[in-house]
């Protein structure tokens, strides 16, 4: 388990992380979500022992990150932001270095390196120097070094940043495969990632924890949650009819789409479909919304929704 207690970090007068407290259990993929400069990376740097907290503390499976830093670091695998690597070394030499630093020697070391190469399909580039690899391969090398010692917790700082859609998909699949029985903490500013990947999300802005929920729970906070969006010819006529329903609270027309927001009384979707059939409108699309993450994000982080 990872426990953070009132974790803070100041850079001079700037407060990068402000009294952050949370607990994470194994089996969780926790997403740190926040705008750039929100304090996600700083939090990760403190958890992994790179930065000392200005105040507060954290425990990694019972090991305090200040008093027992080496033991805490042994429980963690870490992919720093941008996946920095020793470019001049070959993939194999680099992974051997990390393995040695993790305390493996001889046959055990070879087996660990081999299995990490295998899991990330790096076998074909093992002798190649890292700086000659593509971005996707480099990211895989970065993840390989993080899982080399099969740690119970992994901290990945923006693991999919800067990758193309196929590579993103691949890295997400890897994260899902590694998640069972482990704690995974990933940071991202890509909202779709939270929905696609995480079992829990924490929204952080200006160093503060603003929301801590499941992705579905966050979506429930959206005004679009359970709203019904239609695409049809006569928007105005439909809007006046649907707006009068007791199940609807409000209607909105935007970019050729009509959205009906629920009032909380009865089932809005059923009511809307009933009206559509009764009126015989030519509806080309009808959709029950689960909520919009970008809207929740903007609301929570205190910015105006873009018109």
């Amino acid at each position: 388990m990872i426990k953070a207690k009132s974790l803070s970090r100041h850079y001079g007068p700037l407060i990068a992380v402000d009294r952050l407290s949370f607990e994470v259990e194994p089996g969780t993929i926790l997403g740190f979500l926040g705008p750039n400069g929100a304090g996600k990376s700083t939090t990760m740097k403190m958890l992994t022992g790179f930065l000392e907290p200005s105040s507060g503390s954290a425990e990694i499976f019972g090991h305090d990150i200040r008093r027992d830093s080496l033991a805490a670091r042994r429980m963690l695998g870490y992919l720093p932001e941008g996946a920095p690597l020793y470019g001049e070394l070959s993939v194999g030499r680099f992974l051997r270095f990390v393995g040695e630093a993790r305390g493996f020697r001889g046959g055990e070391l070879a087996a660990r390196v081999h299995s990490a190469l295998d899991r990330l399909s790096l076998g074909e580039v093992v002798g190649q120097s890292i700086e000659t690899l593509s971005k996707g391969f480099k990211r895989r090398v970065g993840i390989a070094q993080a899982i080399l010692h099969d740690p119970p917790a992994l901290v990945l700082d923006e693991p999919t940043d800067g990758l193309d859609p196929n590579q993103k998909h691949e890295v997400r699949q890897l994260i899902r495969d590694m998640a069972s029985e482990r704690i995974m903490i990933i940071s991202t500013h890509i909202l779709e990632e939270v929905d696609a990947l995480c079992t829990r999300a924490m929204i952080i802005a200006r160093g503060r924890l603003l929301a801590d929920d499941t992705p579905a729970g966050l979506l429930r906070r959206s005004r679009y949650h359970n709203a019904v969006t239609l695409v049809l010819d006569d928007l105005q006529a439909a809007a006046s009819v649907l707006g009068a329903l007791q199940e609807s609270a409000e209607v909105e027309i935007r970019r050729g789409r009509l959205t009906v927001f629920p009032s909380g009384r009865g089932n809005l979707f059923e009511a809307v479909t009933r009206e559509v059939q009764a009126a015989g409108w030519a509806v080309s699309q009808i959709q029950l919304e689960s909520g919009r993450m970008d809207e929740v994000f903007r609301t929570v982080t205190g910015q105006q929704e873009a018109a």
Partner: protein, 244 residues
Amino acid sequence: MSNLAVVLRRELASYFATPVAYVFIVIYLIMSAVFTFYLGGFYEREIADLEPFFRFHPWLYLFLVPAIGMRLWAEERKSGTVELLLTLPITATEAVLGKFLAAWLFIGLALALTFPIWITVNVLGRPDNGVIIAAYLGSWLMAGGFLAISACLSAATRNQVVAFILSVVVCFLFLLSGLPMVLDVFRGWLPQALIDAIANLSFLVHFSSISRGVLDLRDLLYFVLVIGFWLAANRIVLELKKAD
């Protein structure tokens, strides 16, 4: 401390995976030969010793050692690998010492590769080989002093050029602190005891006594203390600056 060796081996692997090692060794060997034979008048002196060879080492190191030292931490900080390194179960002390020792051994290798000149002087005459061994040791210790200064200043910046220039300047001050041009600045407003202390900081003074074959414990201790001081400073600077 077993991770000290792990850091050391990785550093050395990086030297030889890039042209750094080969360029350094070749330039070092060419420059030391040029100094010995042209400026030092090795043949013209007709004395069987390596004084003309060792005499120029402080000046050679003044530029070549900061060139090796500048990348030690500045490069790690620039590329972000310092974050990788210091979140492994490696202590900052192991990292500082491992990196320093790797570079020092590497300079030692370059120094050892000057052995043909030792063979030459033994073919041409009957030198005092004890003095030569002492001078080699002194030269390597002095290189360690320059290197510890460069390593510390390298941790203070992400920019290798800045690290290089700062290192050359500080090394230059340490080199010359026994000469009048430095001491005159302090004379008149500092007590004589402090001026003597500054004069005693000079690399040149301590190196020249070792290179004449006088292995005084105080000279050895001097270089060991210089190295220790700057490496301790390196650890502190690293701690302060790694977050920037």
